[in-house]
Amino acid sequence: MSKSLRILVPVKRVIDYAIKPRINKAGTGVEKTGVKFSMNPFDDIAVEEAVRLREKHKNLVESVHAVSIGPAKAQDILRTALAKGADTCTLIDAKEAELEPLAVAKVLKRVVEAQNANLVILGKQSIDDDCNNTGQMLAGLLNWPQATNAAKIELDAARGRVQVTREVDGGEEIVSAALPMVVTTDLRLNTPRYATLPNLMKAKKKPMEKLTLADFGDVDTQARLQTLKVEEPATRSAGVKVGSVDELVEKLKAAKAI
């Protein structure tokens, strides 16, 4: 079988998962200056999966292309994706605009068409807006099948189908679909590799196409939702440490918790 799989992996630059976000002084959003940013963890898994698919099916995967829509600094995470094994990438500079998933999906649809991709692997959600929207929206716009929350992806080259084990509320379910399709990754799909220094050096030589949001001027990327305010959730009042199991049971009874 000829090389027929062209994988597109959208990646997002987000505040590092280990950092507790703080509201900015203006109270309009989250403080972003001086904060560590990284690749969205679910996207890291998506990149890893694309690279593993190629390692496993050398004669099937033609290309792995990464794309990011965000500030100019998003090129850092694209370099990371290249270092982990993506061949080429596209940076779509949106400056400081934070696009909603619908807008991102519309732009991604264009990228899918431009790259002639037939398998899009995205993270199931970004850990900043926690929407869990973009993959489903992209699939809808393309009229492609979708398999979200993937815990396992299997290619059946002979039938041109992809079988995905999905994490659902009560356990897991399996769906299969014909290419082209959209898959979103859950945490248990794989463990992403580290980008080694030599690979990071090599990644600098890999091609990065640079576009701006203006290149998608005919795509409606206007925000549909207005954020009226952001606030920190009510903090829990400090609890007490008890010295023994007896004391714990006593306190729980007093609090009518048991």
């Binding site: 998962y17 280990a18 507790k20 976000p21 989250v30 619908l102 199931k124 850990i127 900043d128 926690d130 869990n132 929207n133 973009t134 993959g135 489903q136 929206m137 992209l138 809808g140 716009l141 009229n143 492609w144 099948p145 979708q146 929350n149 815990a151 999905r166 659902v168 509320d169 009560g170 356990g171 897991e172 379910e173 399996i174 299969s176 679909a177 014909a178 859950d186 248990r188 549909r224 939702l225 207005q226 954020t227 305010k229 952001v230 606030e231 920190e232 959730p233 829990r236 400090a238 609890g239 007490v240 440490k241 199991v245 007896d246 714990l248 049971v249 306190k251 729980l252 609090a255 918790a257």
Partner: protein, 343 residues
């Protein structure tokens, strides 16, 4: 639009031209059922959230168990503003395959009567709603934890560390609601008509549901349990997890939950994971056993009423949110607690 908003309001409702009367706000609620027609807890919460929108509600049931589900809702639950139930029993909607379910939802939502579409933030709700949004060119508001008014919603971001109040001025509001933030619809009965949805042409998308592997359990459902006992990496192995967590949960009639670390180490099934990327729970009592309290885990449980932490590490961040903390060796403390609670 010929009338400005204020001039519409100036008309008594009955004298409005029919064009406007047909635009009276109404909510379509997507209800999930199990194969035997039992309504999902998360959908019962979605129904009570729908009531908060203040519009008449139409409940939508799809798939092979739709008719049974519709009868269950009608017979067993009381939803004041429920005005009708739509049933789409087509087998194409089984297992809530989004490729098929979406086209039905889109077709129904094209009716200008519907101003709101509400789903539970369940695995199926999250799978279907954004696809519907894309096809209707609407950005949904996801995982809503509070409804301020019919166009203003509160939703958590950044693993629950930030609460954003968002206003939506789109023609229709598509929302998914976090089950733990809304009470379940109350028991009772509601006399409403059940109608059949018009058949939709079958989707041309080649997608097939191949099977499932669900965890069978007699325990209360994790998402709606009033008590949860959760285990973390501190339990070290599956044997300890089963020996310590299970009896304590049995004694408390609690659901069992876990951290990502526990799931990844194979201590339990991943459908038990609580946190930003797993389930979000808000029980009356949450007992965290051997859980350090990473922010991704706290995102899933910090709205619990009473939190108990049992951990050998006195510096574990879980103690900062726990109402009652006990520092000690799990292997000694947990069996002792189980025994004393059983009395």
């Amino acid at each position: 639009m010929i009338f400005s908003r204020t001039s519409i309001r100036a008309f008594p409702r009955s004298s409005l031209p029919s064009l406007f009367r047909s635009r009276a706000a109404s909510t379509l609620a997507f209800i999930e059922t199990s194969q035997d027609g039992k309504i999902a807890q998360s959908s019962l919460s979605a129904l009570s959230a729908a009531e908060k929108l203040g519009n008449p509600i139409t409940a939508l049931f799809v798939g092979g168990s739709a008719q049974k589900g519709a009868e269950t809702l009608k017979g067993d639950y009381s939803v004041n503003s429920l005005k009708s139930i739509i049933v789409a029993s087509n087998e194409a909607y089984n297992n809530y395959l989004p490729e098929n379910v979406t086209s039905l939802c889109v077709k129904l939502l094209e009716d200008p009567e519907y101003s709101h579409f509400i789903v539970a933030s369940s695995a199926s709700g999250k799978n279907v709603l954004p696809r519907v949004g894309a096809l209707l060119d609407l950005q949904p508001i996801c995982d809503v934890t509070a409804i301020v008014d019919a166009k203003t919603f509160v939703r958590p971001m950044y693993a629950g560390n930030i609460l954003a109040t968002v206003e939506c001025n789109q023609s229709k509001k598509l929302i998914s609601v976090r089950a733990s933030s809304f009470p379940a619809a109350s028991a009772g009965g509601t006399e409403v008509p059940i109608t059949k949805a018009a058949e939709q042409p079958k989707s041309s998308i080649d997608v097939k549901w191949e099977g499932e592997n669900l965890v069978k359990s007699e325990r209360p459902d994790l998402g709606s349990a009033s008590r949860v006992v959760a285990g973390g990496r501190g339990l070290k192995n599956k044997e300890t997890f089963d020996n310590l967590v299970t009896p304590l949960a049995d004694t408390l009639h609690a659901a069992i939950g876990a951290t990502r670390a526990a799931v990844d180490s194979g201590l339990c099934d991943n459908s038990l994971q609580i946190g930003q990327t797993g389930k979000v729970v808000a029980p009356d009592l949450y007992v965290a056993v051997g859980i350090s309290g990473a922010i991704q885990h706290l995102a899933g449980m910090k709205d619990s009423k009473t939190i108990v932490a049992i951990n050998s590490d006195p510096e574990a961040p879980i103690f900062q949110v726990a109402d009652f903390g006990l520092v000690g060796d799990l292997n000694e403390v947990v069996p002792e607690l189980t025994e004393k609670l059983a009395k």
